[in-house]
């Protein structure tokens, strides 16, 4: 049996399923192959994001935050709480049901849009053929006019801390921990480490994060990274920078971690659970036949051009497989771009305005360039900041940590970047991202009417502050 499709997508994570749906919307005969199986052995869509990534982690973050709030943060409102307890299995059950709902939703969207959902492993052969090995082992070859590779990424494994699925886990395992570990070690204080660390910290763990880099959140704006570290440290996260793990040893029901500190001294620390989250790598194992024509670069990502086309004609790659930030929405938009281009549109993607978010509380979010990047480029700039402690709405919500920072070009006033740590940072940054898409200046945002009292006003004030016109904080004296 050989089927012919206009588009075959390998992978149904946020990049793949969005590409498949868009392609089908544009009238292309589309199939989407997914190899992920749930615990019952059934093929499910959604990839890492839905099954073991974005969604489950957010579910746990919200559940744990509510627990923390109920336990610690309601007294000030006059509410007394006693006997607040966390039923971990129930929390996990809720997480799982959300996952089921969403993955089922994708299957439903496929049906509604006429995407042929195939379950099994897809492998790209030469000549735009895809070999499908289904979950029963049967092999078929599918003919495609276009192939979109969207097989995503896997957590990077480090030899010094090999997973055993029990005491040493990766991010996937971290989402299934059944009881609160007393002492939790996290190797890697990046986005995933901070989020997972936050979850268990709120639920009562002592959390130590071991970060090999000397700088905290090195790729983020330094001012915001500094502010964030202060906040997280106050929350109880023990963040150790410049700490390189050199070995782990399982000792009964504990794991002992050996690491070198920034000053070269060696340390040992024992944990009840160790999460390894040092980054992710593009997942190309078994994806490409030797003669597929697709090239990988030295880091193992699939090499593509600005329109996500690989070296092989008619073959595209999107999402975590290719260059750029490993963000679900970046993959999704690449999927849309590729589907539209296949359908004959002239779609492009704006990689300069891609928001990124850390879903701790307070959230950390940013879009555009950091102050360091602008400075390194030699561009003159102005900065406007506004603390949530000066926001009436934040005060009313008793959520006043953090600040908004907006950077604009000194000569043209064009907004170059926005960085926020604070409540709803993700949604606030999105507002600025939209403004940046239209070439807004800081003054444009300043001239926009913002509702009061909202958290959004912090964005308004920060924008005004860029040009020394903030109302609700004294303006910094300009150096010029």
């Amino acid at each position: 049996m050989s089927d012919k499709f206009d588009v075959v997508v390998i992978g149904s994570g946020p990049a793949g399923y969005v590409a498949a749906i868009r392609a089908a919307q544009l009238g292309l005969k589309t199939a989407c192959i997914e190899k992920w199986k749930n615990t019952e052995g059934q093929g499910v869509n959604g990839g890492t994001c839905l099954n073991v990534g974005c969604i489950p982690s957010k579910a746990l973050l919200d559940s744990s935050f509510k627990y923390h709030e109920a336990k610690e943060e309601l007294g000030i409102h006059g509410i007394s709480t006693k006997g607040v307890a966390m039923d971990i299995p129930a929390m996990l059950k809720r997480k799982n049901s959300i996952i089921n709902q969403l993955t089922g939703g994708i299957a439903g969207l496929f049906k509604a849009n006429g995407v042929t959902a195939l379950y099994g492993t897809g492998k790209l052969l030469a000549g735009k053929k895809v070999e499908l090995t289904d979950n029963d082992g049967a092999v078929t070859v599918i003919d495609a006019d276009n192939v979109i590779l969207a097989s995503g990424s896997l957590p990077i494994a480090i030899p010094v801390a090999q997973l055993d699925g029990d005491l040493i886990v990766d991010s996937t395992g971290a989402l299934e921990i059944g009881e609160v570990p007393k002492r939790l070690g996290v190797i890697g204080a990046g986005v995933i480490g901070l989020e997972l660390g936050s979850v268990w910290n709120r639920l009562g763990s002592e959390v130590v994060l071991l970060e090999a880099m000397e700088d905290f959140l090195a790729i983020m704006d330094k001012g915001i990274a500094k502010e964030s570290k202060k906040i997280f440290t106050k929350q109880g996260l023990d963040i150790r920078l410049g700490a390189r793990v050199t070995g782990t040893e399982i000792k009964g029901k504990e794991v002992e971690v050996t690491y070198k500190a920034a000053d070269g001294s060696e340390h040992k620390q024992t944990f009840d659970k160790l999460i390894v989250c040092v980054g992710r790598r593009a997942f190309t194992d078994g994806l490409l036949a030797d003669d597929s024509g697709v090239q990988l670069d030295e880091r193992g990502t699939v090499f593509v051009d600005d329109q996500c086309a690989t070296n092989a004609p008619g073959v595209y790659a999107i999402g975590d497989l290719v260059r750029g930030p490993m963000l679900a929405h970046k993959g999704s938009e690449e999927g849309v771009m590729v589907a539209e281009n296949i359908a004959g549109h002239k779609a492009q993607m704006n990689y300069d305005i891609v928001p990124n978010v850390i879903y701790t509380h307070p959230e950390v979010a940013s879009v555009g360039q950091t102050e360091e990047q602008i400075k390194a480029a030699g561009e003159p700039y102005n900065v406007g900041t506004f603390p949530f402690s000066a926001s009436g709405r934040a005060m009313a919500a008793n959520d006043t940590q953090g600040m908004v920072k907006i950077i604009a070009h000194a000569d043209t006033d064009r907004i170059l970047g926005c960085h926020i740590v604070g409540p709803s940072a993700a949604d606030l940054v999105q507002q600025v991202a939209i403004a940046m898409e239209f070439g807004s200046s800081a003054e444009d945002l300043g001239m926009t009417v913002f509702g009061h009292p909202t958290l959004s006003e912090t964005v308004h004030e920060a924008a005004l502050a860029v040009n020394g016109a903030a109302i609700h904080i004294p303006n910094r004296k300009r150096r010029k």
């Binding site: 006033d413 898409e437 807004s440 200046s441 003054e443 001239m447």
Partner: protein, 398 residues
């Protein structure tokens, strides 16, 4: 500075013309080589183009009026560039685009433009969808100091030029022009085209015409006696004597046509067209003259049908109406030869040992050497010459 626009010098065979169509109105800007007006003569429509950039200032002859050779018909004011609001489609498009652009201005950009007295229609927008951002206004340099400040949407294709600028104008070829270009290029690639020349003393023919013009016109309901009738009949006679010239190559076959369909080249404002006189061997001179005149009219109105323009076994073209002394006409495929007529020029020639001033016309015949050898071509042309110089020979078929 005013330039006089005159009707072209009509060849001797053309007495007068009629002003057919004005393509520009008073006040319109014109650019060099742009078509101004059509003047219709017996044979063909003459095009008059603008000699320089400027504005059509004065029109002295209206459509339908008689125009003599070299008569002044209009005046152009040289150099005056069109006002920006000129009613050319491109300028109109620009206006619309500018209006649209003004509504796509970021708030701070508008504020700054107001403060700095900047005309937003002069600012090019770099924001999404052409929006003018504050950055664009900040970076804006007024045109006085930087001539490169482009309008929001530049419609360059039909822009008017200042005299003296070394600029270019890019216009897409019309379908007809593209087709003509293709065919002519094809012909030069697929035929072994040569040209043989001769000259003909037109005095006998001109005498004949002078003598019988009035009677001819009266008898044949207003049809005027020109030269084409004679040339067509002469060609028909010569083609009968040299059937190879009337033949065409089809693959590896020679196709001899048992009829003479003579194409007569007519110039229109869209290009050259060649309507065909079918079975010209059966046409009287009056019929030929009538047909040509009617074809010319249809061609001018763009009403020639494809049928009227296809086929033909031989073509006659007359560059003489434009003043051409000598030329190498290009063969009209799939025909094998073409006769070119030229201007009649009073020249001293030797006649019976004496120098006399005679009205001479150079004749050129381009032929496909794959089929026709030099000897035949030359003799064919000599035959034409002899028939024209002694028209009785046409009648007597000698």
């Amino acid at each position: 500075m005013a330039i006089e626009i005159k009707a072209p010098t009509y060849p001797e065979s053309v007495q007068e013309g009629t002003l057919a169509t004005w393509h520009k109105n008073v006040g319109d800007s014109v650019s060099r080589d742009e078509l101004l007006v059509d003047i219709e003569t017996d044979k063909v429509v003459l095009e008059v183009v603008a000699p320089a950039n400027g504005v059509l200032a004065e029109v002295l002859k209206a459509e339908g009026e008689t125009v003599e050779s070299n008569e002044i018909i209009a005046r152009i004011e040289e150099g005056a560039a069109a006002a920006p609001g000129a009613a050319t489609p491109a300028a109109k498009q620009e206006e619309v685009d500018i209006q649209v652009a003004e509504s796509l201005v970021n708030p701070a950009a508008k504020k700054l433009a107001d403060e700095r007295d900047i005309d937003l229609s002069q600012v090019s927008g770099t924001g999404k969808g052409g929006r003018i951002t504050k950055e664009d206004v900040v970076n804006f340099v007024p045109p006085a100091t930087a001539p490169a400040a482009a309008p929001a949407v530049a419609a360059v294709a039909d822009a008017e030029f200042e005299v003296g600028e070394r600029v270019e104008r890019r216009v897409a070829m019309s379908r007809m022009r593209t087709r003509i270009a293709e065919r002519l290029l094809d012909v030069t690639h697929t035929t072994a085209s040569l040209t043989t020349f001769n000259e003909v003393d037109m005095s006998a023919l001109m005498g004949l015409r002078r003598q019988y013009q009035d009677e001819f016109t009266k008898t044949h309901n207003g049809t005027r006696l020109g030269f084409m009738g004679f040339f067509v009949k002469a060609a028909v006679e010569a083609l009968k004597r040299f059937p190879l010239v009337n033949a065409s190559i089809d693959g590896t076959d020679i196709v001899y046509h048992g009829y003479q369909d003579i194409g007569v080249a007519v110039s229109t404002d869209r290009g050259l067209v060649v309507p065909v006189l079918r079975n010209a061997e059966n046409m009287s001179i009056a019929t030929v003259e009538n047909s040509i005149s009617s074809y010319a009219g249809k061609a001018r109105d763009g009403k020639l049908t494809i049928d009227e323009m296809t086929g033909g076994t031989f073509t006659i073209t007359n560059g003489g109406v434009y003043g051409s002394l000598l030329s190498t006409p290009i063969i009209n495929p799939p025909q094998s030869a073409i006769l070119g007529m030229h201007t009649i020029q009073q020249r001293p020639v030797a006649v019976n040992g004496q120098v006399e001033i005679r009205p001479m016309m150079y004749l050129a015949m381009s032929y496909d050497h794959r089929l026709i050898d030099g000897k035949e071509a030359v003799q064919f042309l000599v035959t034409i010459k002899q028939l024209i110089e002694d028209p009785a020979k046409i009648l007597l078929e000698i």
